[in-house]
């Protein structure tokens, strides 16, 4: 096994006991009146979906079960797609603020906390689109469909834990470039050796 195996943890993908994504939902499930807790994350999740409602990308910054994620996705996609073109980019949904913007055939949808600044979230979305555009060169929905892992990489270099980590476009793209180089190097390494019976799971 090569040095530097990718980090992986199977246990952490499930929400742990006692930590739930939407604090109010958790407290309601426990039957208590929900106390207003500290924010779970500035941005709770980001969804990308097409005009037909097909989900292209989903990044969750709060732990939720799969069932909850599906439910939220379904409801939110319906709500956003029902908005008319002349309406404003913000809407209130459950106890969150939703900021969405349509770029060509894709809707970029973020959920932020009550006290967050909606206008700067629009800038976050725009910055992400610019990064994708720079990387893919005139990005379109197909690029994201066929190279979704790259889209996630770029997002992970721009946002971390729901917060902005790097405000310089240059630095983000540089980091992605270096990651790409490293990946190619590793792959050429594997191709050169003879790993019998080992499949590349692309």
């Amino acid at each position: 096994p090569p040095a530097g195996s990718p980090p992986h943890s199977t246990t952490a993908s499930l929400p742990q006991h006692g930590d739930r994504g939407f604090p109010l939902a958790a407290a309601a499930a426990a039957g208590r009146a929900p106390p207003r807790p500290r924010p779970a994350a500035a941005m709770q999740f980001m969804l990308l979906f097409s005009r037909q409602g097909k989900l292209r990308l989903q990044k969750w910054y709060v732990p939720l079960s799969d069932k909850e994620k599906k439910k939220i996705t379904r409801e939110l996609v319906q709500t956003v797609l029902a908005r008319k073109p002349k309406m404003c980019s913000f809407l209130e949904w459950r106890d969150l603020k939703i900021v969405y913007k349509r770029y060509a055939s894709l809707y970029f949808c973020c959920a932020i906390e009550d006290q967050d600044n909606e206008l700067i979230t629009l800038e976050i979305i725009h910055r992400y689109v610019e990064l994708l555009d720079k990387y893919f060169g005139s990005v379109c929905e197909l690029d994201i469909i066929f190279n979704f892992e790259k889209a996630y990489f770029i997002l992970d270099e721009f946002l971390l834990g729901g917060e902005v980590q790097e405000t310089s476009k240059k630095n983000v793209l540089k980091a992605i470039e270096q990651a790409d180089l490293l990946q190619e190097k590793t792959e050429t390494m594997y191709h050169s050796k003879s790993f019998i019976g080992f499949k590349k799971a692309y």
Partner: protein
């Protein structure tokens, strides 16, 4: 690098088959010193780290905070933010490096540090106090950023690093809240940012918005607050709908605390009512309603009424109730108030709240000079349209009460209208028969018709006909009424005038009392019965008081009126009778003759010190029944007495069910109580009449 397992948080199903053979641990990844690996480990940890993982790996992350490479450091800082969210105790681990990290020049590290400090301050007041000392440093950083920190790679449309600016402003907001000193330190800077930021693009507006939020939240100078409100006012004029949205939302939050400053932007807010986007027009409506005050009420009401006519249906109810509330609070004249309510009822009648009818009847009832005016306007409105139920109910009530004024034909405020008696009756009949009328509305109409029988001249054949038709109506409530009214025509013709007299004004505490509203509605519906028992009793009282001693001649008393349906006599035109609390006043036996006894029990409700409730109980322990039992009472002129209907007029022999009767005595001047009672009944086939004054009344009953 692993396409397999990075982005584990994002992949819908991450199956183990795509993983490498040896399960790696985050711990080793973090400490191995290979940057990309560390980066990925931190990414995973910050997205999905559970509480246990955070506790275990906190020391590793702490070490990474001090690494030279900015790439790993910025990720480590944000991972620390996540860890603190999951495990608040780790704050103590990550607090010390913060101050040192603030000196960094790298924007990513600075941004992460500020986020970390924000998180620490929000969770612990001790941390908040600790970090107040970095306010000057933060101010310096922001100032440098705004004035000289222009670097193309970090800027968006001429604004240097708006993300960092917004984050610093947020932290300043938290540090300056409720703290004079820190707020003062920031004042100049905030003014500078507010005036110098380029607002042509969204990035600048985002920074400006955050500045406004910060100004409003800290202890800023008055001039700065006005500047902030003006910025929001400018936002309202922006062509970008999103900016208008945030402006309206923020102004709504500010309207209570900075009312006069927001008032200046009232015209712009009212213009926003015309927005096509429903969420904007809803906010504009809320804000407009909050801005109504006594000086601008007329102008605002005009605008709001115009809006009511054209607004989308889901906003109608809110708009209508908002207008009514504002009218109630700020109405300059009663006539204006009546006009406004009338207009709302005609435009959006189906969307008003239930107590609007009661409020309006109360209002009209109280404005005696406007009776003629109101009844005419309502008649005209009703003649045009009988579908809006609240309007029909009020109109029916008014026509019933003031029908005579309607027919008189002279009212200075409206063009003279010749209304024919037959037209009025025809209109009420139309309401009664219409399928659009609710049962309550038909009740109003029937009662109004009945009242008109005394108000209008001429014979009442038409009314009698209608009433007798409804005696067989399927609706039980209407049928009951019709039967009673018919009986009034036939058997109690002599009392009809007294029963259908003009209603005295219902007393109300204010719009909040729905008890009262329910009562006045009940009173409006069942008012005919209420004056009845007091009428005949009142005339007897005077007789009693004039008696020197002994009985006088008039043996002819009309029998007490049978109690009206539903215990309506309880809803007298006075305060509701509170359930009597335990009474310390002892009972008093006042009369005994041949086994027939009368006892009085006294109750002084604590919430109304002037009120005394006496329950007279007549019992019979003799061998013969007592029938046609009537008890009457008299009190000195300075007190007020009300008798409620007795529970019956027969006491069966040998301890049969006693008769109880409630007397209500109002004694506001605490005058000494004197009570004279007159009893008449049949016992052992003899007619008995007794008049006596009650002695030994306990002092507590009137003091």
């Amino acid at each position: 690098m692993g396409t397999q397992c990075t982005g584990t948080g994002s992949w819908p199903n991450c199956s183990t088959s795509t993983c490498w053979a040896t399960p790696p641990t985050l711990d080793s990844d973090l400490s191995q010193g290979i940057q990309p690996v560390q980066g990925l480990a931190l990414c995973t940890l910050s997205t999905m780290g559970s509480a246990e993982m955070c506790r275990d790996l906190a020391p590793e992350v702490e070490k990474l905070l001090l690494q030279p490479s900015p790439y790993v450091r910025k990720k480590a800082i944000l991972t620390a933010v996540h860890m603190i969210r999951k495990v608040p105790e780790l704050s103590s681990v990550f607090l010390p490096p913060c101050v040192h990290l603030l000196h960094e020049r790298h924007h990513g590290i600075l941004l992460g540090t500020i986020t970390l400090i924000t998180e620490l301050c929000e969770r612990s007041p001790a941390a908040l106090r600790h970090f107040r000392k970095v306010v000057p440093q933060l101010v310096q950083i922001l100032r440098t950023l705004v004035t000289t920190g222009y670097s193309t790679e970090h800027s968006i449309s001429g604004v240097s690093d708006p993300f960092l600016q917004v984050q610093i402003l947020r932290l300043l907001r938290i540090l300056g809240r409720n703290h004079e000193e820190s707020s003062e330190t920031m004042n100049d800077l905030l003014a500078q940012v507010a005036t110098n930021t380029d607002t042509s693009r969204n990035a600048g507006n985002a920074v400006l918005f955050e500045t406004v939020l910060t100004i409003m939240d800290i202890r800023s100078a008055a001039g700065l607050r006005v500047l902030a409100v003006n910025i929001l006012g400018r936002f309202l004029l922006n062509s970008d709908r999103n900016i208008r949205y945030v402006a309206l939302t923020s102004l709504l939050r500010l309207v209570q605390s900075d009312h006069s400053a927001v008032q200046r932007h009232r015209p712009t807010v009212v213009d926003c009512l015309q927005e096509t986007d429903a969420s904007l027009s809803r906010r504009a409506l809320e804000l407009s309603l909050a801005l109504v005050n006594s000086s601008n009420v007329r102008a605002m009401m005009q605008e709001l009424q115009a809006f009511l006519e054209s607004c989308p249906p889901d906003l109608r109810a809110d708009c209508a109730s908002g207008i009514l509330l504002a009218a109630e609070r700020f109405a300059p004249t009663k006539r204006w108030h009546i006009d406004t309510i009338l207009h709302v009822l005609t435009t959006a009648g189906t969307h008003v709240r239930d107590d609007a009818v009661a409020n309006l009847t109360q209002l009209i009832g109280g404005a005696q000079e406007l009776h003629a005016y109101s009844v005419r306007r309502l008649y005209n409105a009703l003649a045009e349209d009988i579908s809006q139920q609240p309007l029909v109910q009020v109109a029916a009530w008014c026509i019933g009460e003031y029908g005579d004024l309607l027919l008189e034909g002279n009212c200075e405020e409206i063009e003279p209208l010749q209304v024919d008696k037959e037209e009025v009756l025809a209109l009420l009949e139309k309401v009664l028969q219409s399928h659009m009328s609710l049962p309550a509305t038909r009740g109003y109409a029937l009662t109004a018709l009945m009242k008109l029988s005394t108000r209008l001249q001429g014979d009442n054949n038409r009314i009698r006909q209608v009433v007798s038709i409804y005696r067989s109506c399927l609706d039980v409530e209407l049928q009951q009424r019709a039967v009673e009214y018919d009986t009034l025509f036939r058997k109690y013709e002599h009392m009809r005038a007294a029963i259908l007299e003009k209603m005295p004004l219902v007393e109300r505490d204010g719009p909040q009392a729905d008890e009262e509203a329910k009562e006045s509605k009940a009173a409006a519906q069942l008012s005919e019965a209420a004056p009845a028992p007091t009428e005949p009793q009142a005339s007897q009282l005077l007789d009693l008081l004039d008696l020197l001693d002994g009985a006088s001649g008039d043996a002819q008393h009309p029998p007490p009126l049978h109690p009206s349906p539903g215990g309506a006599l309880v809803y007298l035109l006075d305060l509701p009778c509170a359930p009597p609390p335990p009474a310390p006043i002892p009972d008093l036996k006042v009369f005994e003759r041949e086994g027939v006894q009368l006892n009085l029990s006294f109750i002084r409700p604590p919430e109304n010190p002037a009120l005394l409730l006496i329950t007279a109980t007549a019992t019979n322990s003799s061998e013969g029944d007592v029938t046609d039992f009537i008890c009457q009472a008299a009190v000195p002129k300075s007190l007020q007495l009300q008798l409620q209907a007795p529970s019956g007029n027969t006491v069966p022999a040998r301890g049969g069910l006693p008769i109880t009767q409630l007397f209500r005595i109002l004694n506001p001047n605490k005058a000494p109580l004197r009570l004279k009672l007159r009893l008449t009944y049949n016992h052992f086939h003899q007619s008995v009449q007794e008049i006596f004054e009650v002695n030994n009344l306990p002092v507590e009953s009137w003091q």
